[in-house]
Subunit: 189 residues, 2 copies
């Protein structure tokens, strides 16, 4: 749990009461590679903090899977759309490695937000960070070529290539696996 608290402190300082409340609110969850954290169609009632491991979010589009996101250590994980609106998720989240997570229910989180102004601030600031990140990825994805996208990934998030099968990475970058493979071989020579 130290890692979660430290992560929150990096967003904005924690006061001792909130720290205690947080410790009482999160529960540890351990899951294995291949397990699903969230399944399409189920409403997502928990927010998770990923302490160790990595996972992917993907859509089932007709007969194939389209990975659109990866989570690593220190990421908050959920189907945001489902968790926020409490509608059924349209995506799946599946573990790429064994993971250790901390989980908090929506109700419990709402309790924290209602009773701690600072919790509300923390979450607001976390959303700010996530919003900026997503915006950056969006612009990137839309306006760059396959090889630019791959080189950017190498620059900015090299851990993705190291820990994730290339098929998932290709979908994440919005290209076919074959194209990614060709981009890589061109770059190597």
């Amino acid at each position: 749990m130290e890692r979660l608290l430290q992560h929150l402190k990096n967003i904005y300082d924690l006061n001792p009461e909130l720290q205690v409340a947080l410790q009482e609110s999160f529960q540890q969850v351990s899951l294995s590679k291949g397990d699903y954290l969230i399944r399409e169609g189920k409403t997502c009632r928990h927010l998770y903090f990923l302490e160790q491991g990595c996972l992917r979010g993907f859509y089932q589009v007709e007969d194939r899977e389209v990975t659109h996101w990866f989570g690593f250590e220190n990421d908050f994980v959920t189907s945001f759309h489902s968790f926020i609106t409490q509608q059924p998720a349209i995506e799946n989240i599946q573990l790429i490695e064994d993971c250790r997570l901390w989980s908090i229910s929506k109700d419990r989180l709402n309790g924290l937000l209602a009773s701690h102004h600072k919790a509300e601030r923390l979450l607001r600031m976390a959303y700010e960070q996530y919003y900026i990140r997503l915006e950056e990825r969006y612009v990137n994805a839309q306006f760059k070529s396959a090889s630019e996208l791959y080189e950017d990934l190498l620059d900015r998030t090299p851990h993705i290539i190291e820990r994730v099968p290339l098929g998932y990475v290709a979908a994440y970058l919005g290209m076919s696996q074959e194209t990614l493979s060709r981009v890589r071989s061109r770059l190597a020579h």
Copy 2:
């Protein structure tokens, strides 16, 4: 200002004190078609609420402009990246029509957030909405063909086509102007 208060009430109820504080914190701004609200390189110190009119955000990429976003009535407008981090903006925001806006400075906003738990909540919930919207657009943009993107736009945000020059719309959809034109003519026949 009624429109702004109503919009905030739609996100989450306002108490009277916060309502007064908001009224004292926002200032009206009127600008003309073609004017810039934000210029690349300048740090963005204000958040705006767009009461009337429409505008676009665009990047200057080498020798051309890439429009990536439109704002309409009831949208909050700023370069979020710059406003949040207080780093120089990497995008421009320019008016497509004459606009009436309400503006609040970052400092003033921080004051409101510090003194009103409910302001913090409102902003957090606004970010939630904006996050979901962006995520939806992202997945859309990445995994659909030109004509699907255009038909989606017709379905979901027809006001964009009615009020924005097609050149900007094409960039927003991530295709060339010529491709958009051809998609439209195929659809018409």
